[in-house]
Symmetry: C2
Subunit: 708 residues, 2 copies
């Protein structure tokens, strides 16, 4: 069932419409009347004969015309009766429950109340948005089910989903009250999501022809995995820009107390958003700026950006912002372009071909601006332009805006404009924006919006190139039995058990032998070729082998190995007398190499997640690791390497062997596949992993099963 009953209803009833300005039902009814919703709007309130000159009905049932959408703004306990009435009518298809006091209170009887309402709704074939929400807006039909006052309904390409009603409404008030009122297509706040949820709204926006970009304000989600899957699907077609709060610990704490929803680890949000093609922004301003830029103009085809300014200061500020991003290259102008600019611009203009920076100087007039823009648009080396002006007194901003808009008409490249001169340029901004050219308050904000457009373009490109291949492995009979048994007896697998499972998934270890006695240990040593070995205790009761003296390294003779075996058993028994000991695993010492850690976990929010990073003591301090939601493509896996600060070390510098990055990525992808295939596995830890030029070798392996 589509959400068009919400966004495009033919008729609306407001249950709880009121003339008391202190009540939501007053402003809701006013909004519908005053914004000019193009269909019948009925007021329901048994206490009033009429409201704002309209007839007021005692109940839903009394309304003579059809009702497609109802907005319910009465106290919680009255809501079930309203739904009974709607069910009886039979024509109501959708409801927005403004009222709070349901499941969000976490009071059992209130949770029950929400369920009761939903049950009646289902019987009546009525969709429910909320409770505890403010509903939707749609500029194309002047619909507004919220009680927000003063939002200007200028049509535009941005559609909004907000997890906070007040923030969502106030940011629209802010945006639409700007000098050039920011336009939008649709808006939604879905509250408790008892039926209609954020994902359904996202899918609706995906198909909505008016929506060019989706802006989301998020606090936390209980179904991150589902969210990400939908986001991946939606962002293939339309850009999603998300302000996800909870970046800092302080912020996460506040979110948890606010929405009661779990806020997952911020690093996971960061990684997964990028993985799904979501543009994550840091501030409300960046959310609005980016949505504006992306919804108004074509995306840049590449990342080569030119800055065209008539004042040095703003120009440098924009260059600074662009230069901070690794995603941006300053456009290398063609020599033809430079010649044309020199020809067209005042003699004092600085045309710097190495950086794509053009300072036209304060001598530039309206025509210079337009001509220079045209020349830059024509240069195939330019993918986008940031255009800045501090109009001198002799320059007429409105004329400049008109000429700029003229040149940009039909342009296939984005141009982000910032005129900086207080109120003096407000009308010029309105001219620009009504012609489809986005303008920004500040040069750095114009630059950042351009940067996010480039990022979107890059994400689309990389997603196009991405090939999701299932890596096909299956567990051997042995591994299957291990899991079956250990699910009963415990959850921590021994290293030989872990090796068995991981080997089935293509992860290669150095040979190892389990010895159950000093004699077997000696034999194992010899069978491994008599090279120096390490001995490690085998016991599923021991999680940290080193801590209990369960590991000894570099044993070089049969004698040493035998003694080491005895000593390990002795130490472990004295540390943990009750531990069931299966023997010692004996394996050759690995030579020095770049130390890494590769692991996987099952996050309660995100499901299987694979991590890889640098190992060793120095890096422990820096936590130089990268995460991805599993499974993921090879292309995505490569971006994990890009995330690492220590990437140059893997690529080999100053006497350090280049690492077999393909081998590292194989392990990471295989772990991801293992986690996806086997929900009974909770955690895998390969730590350390030694990466060499032609081989990647895990030195230790841990697998932890889900407690059942």
């Amino acid at each position: 069932m589509s959400l068009s009953h919400y966004f495009n209803p033919s008729s609306i009833a407001v249950v709880g419409a009121s003339n008391d300005p202190g009540k939501a039902g007053c402003q809701i009814f006013k909004n519908l009347l005053e914004l000019g919703f193009n269909g019948p709007v009925y007021a329901v309130n048994p206490k009033l004969p009429e409201l704002f000159g309209r007839k007021c009905y005692g109940s839903l049932k009394e309304i003579d015309g059809p009702v497609e959408l109802m907005i319910v703004s009465i106290p919680a306990f009255g809501v079930p009766q309203v739904f009974e009435d709607a069910k009886d009518r039979g024509d109501v298809r959708a409801a927005v429950i403004i009222a709070s006091g349901f499941s969000e209170t976490r009071i059992p009887e209130r949770i029950e109340l929400e369920k009761q309402v939903l049950k009646i709704a289902k019987e009546g074939n009525i969709r429910v948005m909320g409770p505890n929400c403010v509903g939707v807006m749609n500029t194309s039909n002047h619909l507004d089910t919220t009680f927000a006052a003063g939002i200007i309904q200028t049509p535009g390409g941005m559609s909004v989903i907000s997890q906070s009603g007040s923030l969502g409404a106030s940011l629209m008030m802010f945006a639409t009250h700007q000098p050039a009122s920011m336009g939008f297509a649709k808006w939604a706040h879905v509250g408790n999501q008892t039926d209609v949820d954020v994902l359904e709204v996202m899918r609706f926006y995906k198909e909505d022809p008016d929506t060019k970009a989706i802006a989301i304000y998020m606090e936390g989600i209980n179904n991150a995995r589902d969210f990400l899957e939908v986001a991946r699907e939606v962002s293939e077609k339309k850009p999603i820009i998300a302000l996800k709060v909870g970046r800092s610990e302080a912020g996460s704490g506040a979110a948890a107390s606010h929405t009661g929803s779990l806020v997952g680890s911020d690093a996971l949000y960061d990684a997964s958003f990028r993985q799904m093609g979501i543009i994550r922004v840091d501030t409300i301003e960046e959310l609005l700026d980016t949505a504006k830029a992306i919804s108004m103009q074509p995306l840049p085809k590449g990342n080569r950006i030119a800055v065209l300014t008539e004042a040095g200061g703003p120009g440098i500020i924009a260059m600074d912002e662009l230069g901070m991003s690794a995603d941006i290259t300053m456009a290398p102008l063609e020599s033809k372009t430079i010649e044309a600019l020199k020809e067209a611009l005042p003699p004092m203009a600085i045309v710097d071909h190495t950086t794509g920076y053009i300072d036209m100087s304060a001598a530039a007039d309206e025509d210079h601006h337009a001509k220079a823009l045209k020349i830059l648009l024509d240069d195939p080396n330019v993918d986008g332009i940031v255009h800045l002006s501090v109009p001198p007194t002799f320059l007429l901003p409105d004329v400049m805006a008109q000429k700029t808009a003229g040149v940009l008409k039909g342009a296939e490249k984005p141009v982000a404009v910032c005129y900086l001169a207080g109120e003096w340029i407000n009308n010029a901004r309105r001219i620009l924006e009504s012609s489809g050219v986005p303008s920004f308050d500040m040069p750095e904000r114009a630059a950042k919006a351009m940067k996010n457009m480039v990022l979107r373009s890059k994400l689309i490109d990389s997603k196009k190139k991405e090939k999701m291949e299932k890596r096909i492995f299956s567990l051997s009979e042995t591994s299957r039995k291990i899991i079956e048994q250990k699910k009963q007896s415990g959850y921590n697998l021994t290293e030989p058990e872990a090796r068995s499972i991981l080997s089935d998934y293509g992860i290669v270890f150095h040979p190892a032998v389990v010895a159950k006695s000093p004699e077997e240990a000696e034999k194992a040593f010899l069978s491994l070729g008599g090279v120096p070995v390490v001995l490690k205790i085998v016991s599923s009761d021991i999680l940290h082998k080193s801590d209990v003296g369960g590991v000894e390294t570099n044993k070089k003779t049969p004698e040493e190995v035998r003694k080491s075996f005895e000593s390990i058993i002795l130490k472990v028994k004295s540390s943990i007398p009750e531990a069931r000991i299966e023997g010692c695993l004996i394996t050759p010492m690995a030579r020095e190499g770049t130390e890494m850690i590769i692991g996987a976990m099952r996050d309660s929010q995100f499901g299987p997640v694979v991590m890889l990073g640098m190992g060793g003591i120095f890096v422990e301090v820096l936590k130089d690791v990268s995460f991805r939601i599993a499974p993921f493509s090879r292309e995505e896996a490569w971006t994990m390497i890009d995330d690492l600060k220590f990437k140059p070390i893997l690529q080999g510098i100053r006497g350090i062997e280049k690492a077999d990055i393909d081998g590292i990525l194989d392990i990471a992808q295989n772990l991801g596949q293992l986690m996806s295939d086997h929900p009974e596995i909770l955690e895998v830890d390969l730590n350390p992993v030694r990466a060499y030029a032609k081989e990647v070798c895990p030195l230790d392996a841990r697998v932890i099963l889900k407690k059942t």
Copy 2:
């Protein structure tokens, strides 16, 4: 001579006043008349009998009344004659030269022209601001020598220095055209700085009673050292907030082509700004927000901040921003406070004492806001408050603002306010700001302004605690001779020479002996105790000893040492036949330890700079180093350690020996003193330095002298 002739002139003449709107002299004259400057203003223009109803004079000489300040807005080549006239008058004390076309063109005759003007000015006892500048503004006497149109002169505590006239003017247009017009005290753009420079303006602002905070827009400076010294002096008394562009390479490039001034390395600016107590900001908005916050309210006494909100979304956003800063702690509310809040606020309010976060819920009315603010102000554990509201429809923003302003009257703690509801709260913001309470567009911007106030408070505290002690050392006769000789013959000192100089400055090396023959090498080995040694070639012709085979390590017997000596000499001679070889330095192998690098250089902009950081291959990738301008205090030296990402390693973790940080800082400070005392030294490199628990030992030393 004070700049009061500029900011508080009793009379002004505008040479080049005009009725042509395309000419600067038109708007300048208009600004002076229309803003209501409180003294006589004379127009000078030989072509006009009168201008805007005022008499127009043919030349300066014709003016009958006194002229203290003259604004010269005529083409460059006419300027000398104007100064001759002024000199003849004898009463002109100050001049602003608007005209460009002087030294900034880099054309020899134009440079000469500027010198000529300055010469006449000096003869006439006239100060010169510019050329190529727009001069000054002062809200207390409605002065404006610029040709910027439409800047609203609301008095306020911020004073501005801009290195760009257009950016400086346009940011004032932006700021003063905000819903609540931002006030300022003074403003200046000094152009070519042929006489009056940025430093003099800073010093003037320091003494100006109207100036509470100084906001600077900087592109680059030729005299960084002087700037920093003045900034240190000024910022002891008044906060300096600087937007210094050139953070990225792209930005620096643009700056260089714009102002022609050298932009120093951004890392040096970053470090030195903090060292001098300057608050560096990233954007124009942060510059204005911070200047507003700091100039309107008392500084927080500590870093414990509470967030009081009535809407969850903005609250979380503010918490997020605060939480990103290591400088901020969320206020741990007293239990008394929590009780009082529970008592005063609606039952749905969330009072979270662990994080200083209070969500009053949408049920809060105007009185709730005021009461909660009062309770928080009274808590001794709260140093500052970020106060947020998305006013629900039933809440009257103006009343809330009045009550808030009432509670905050005379408060000794800062409160940063953000009301978020588009135009609906504009008047409330005007009420707040006219009562001295700063308000901000966005919750994150309010939080960031508060963060910068905390930073300022912290900087003041740390400067108060700082003891600048000169470290008294002097060079021995031997070292003096080394420098004297090497200044003649070359500039790269050998390691024994470097050791001599550095030892004089308290830097302790492990013992070493220079051997000139294999026999001497053997003897040296024995004299050092027969422990394993390293041999290094001694030759001032060789900068990189290892590259030419000039280093051999871990020689354990007299025989090995002898062979090593011979092999080194052989290798070096075959690599660089012309190198003058003085022998080999022999010193015991140092045991393993934390590797660092400590060095010093003489920057063309910043003078002596000391660097310390982590050594070794891993850290080479991360460039984990910290800089300070030398000399610096012990307190400042400690902050260098705070800068290092690898600080935990120096403090000792997981089997790594704690480093003797005091020993590291001694070396850093001593190097700083050496560089300050001896301008003939260009560079010192101690790399690597091994840091142990009770000792810090440089393993190699390089000193490079200035080429003379």
